[in-house]
Point group: C2
Chain length 336, copies 2
Amino acid sequence: MDLHILDHKLRVTSISKTGLQQYTHPLIKLIFLRNRTRCKFFSLTETPENYTVVLDEEGFKELQPSEHLQVEGSTWLPLNVVSNGNTSSSSQAVGVTKIAKSVIAPLAEQHVSVFMLSTYQTDFILVREKDLSVVVETLVEEFNIFREEGGESVPVHSQDACNGLQRNGREVPHATVHPVLIPENQFCVMSLDPDTLPAIATTLIDVLFYSNSPKEGASVDQDMKCIKFFSFSLIDGYVSLVMDTEAQRQFPADLLFTSSSGELWRMARIGGQPLGFDECGIVAQISQPLADSDISAYYISTFSFDHALVIPDHPACVYFAILICWHSVCRGYVLV
Amino acid sequence: MDLHILDHKLRVTSISKTGLQQYTHPLIKLIFLRNRTRCKFFSLTETPENYTVVLDEEGFKELQPSEHLQVEGSTWLPLNVVSNGNTSSSSQAVGVTKIAKSVIAPLAEQHVSVFMLSTYQTDFILVREKDLSVVVETLVEEFNIFREEGGESVPVHSQDACNGLQRNGREVPHATVHPVLIPENQFCVMSLDPDTLPAIATTLIDVLFYSNSPKEGASVDQDMKCIKFFSFSLIDGYVSLVMDTEAQRQFPADLLFTSSSGELWRMARIGGQPLGFDECGIVAQISQPLADSDISAYYISTFSFDHALVIPDHPACVYFAILICWHSVCRGYVLV
């Protein structure tokens, strides 16, 4: 298996619900006007709490500082696992499940924080630039590691990166057990030809910028059975959308596509209080048991919480799968 | 001829060039998301100085006060002349020329300020609500006047409005002669099916919100041979666009339509310093001589300047037509 360190330097930011208006101008430019920006990595995810925006330095320049913009202090690098054809993995699962044992668990053991961003096309594992040497040391046995630079893939060897491994060999930390919220809405993971993005522009603008729930700016109501979750990404020219079935109905059915089986996914939101960026092992706690059971899962981190999307083998077992996995690892409590 | 006082109460506002970003959110809503607003009269015109936004009270609510928003203090009402079939006019001219003698000149004589807004479909004559009684008294001999109220056309008689006519019978004031700038760009006046507005959304957004000239926020450079002028209106469901040929090339040719002859228009910008809203007779000074020569003209007032669009009989005579008309009335000086 190959691991690529992609040629993007990313910032992880959050725009408050009430601040969205003043960021409409740069966000619309980044989403729709590719000729006017050199941003190549852009992701916007609406949750009930805020809008998480992950974007490269070219895109980040467009966001003027304000009280409504929070910026995580680090530069993050996206990693991407590429099957090079002769993989021996027998797993049929997709998403974070495929990389749970080979990438997520080893990084958690080394106390490396990861920020996950699953898309229709692939799964990006974001790590802090300052953790790169540890990441390379940790993963070099399992992977051929390449660093993408100016369109070239340059092999990376571990001798350049031998610091920080005094923490090597620790267990996945089990310290914190986070509550899980499982809303009732069902989600689809979709894509479209980027050339047809203009055709859905007004719908996408409407959904992203004007569909505030009645309780604007409020945190999740514990009584709320469905939660707002909408994710758009435009990364290296590929569009990915994650939305619930209610949002999906607003889009023309002939332009968006999903996998042939057209699965609907259920979501587990991880975290009762905002998770922060320093705790390690959260993705590992969720993804390892899913991998043990070979259950496909997407995983989308946001500024406040993590989100796992799981497709049940049959409609009733999503709770079962998540609960069993969760309890088997964490023995924690679960809000359903 | 019938004169309709339309059922819109309008505000005339200006957004500064540097303030456009913070008004992108409400403006995109007013232009593209008809389901989310009850605004029925919306016009946005970009000039080198600013963005003039004319809109009804429902739309005006969307614009938050700020240092970047200037609001003319009055409520304005749009008037609209409708030929009722048995007009005896022999004029083939279109636009403000048709109403120069019957509406514009009499109102100027009564010192009523007008704000003109020509569109692809018709010409709106905006007058201050407080001047309505004078307007009715002045025009009631020439027109059957109707006030539109909740979809009904109610006849208006002058007995309800008999104040303010002590000023009756004055000449068109010749006091101020304004310089005229005639840029080299050529303009077209276009429309499109409002249902196809989403298809040009990204292009229209690009042109309106992201095409700032290099000298952002600056006033017109006297050396500048072309000036930025782009007008979009969505009034009672009808779309009208006025743009120069450079902007036109960015739009798909199959969606926008113009009159069958596809004329290109030249513009005369009236005013060296911002005109303000209290001077009367400016439109009359320009439109009367055009009417004398039966020369078609559109006329678009903005927050700072007035703009006449004239189509020459043959390409070389636009200067001739405007200059002769101008000099014959005003004997003033002209910047070309």
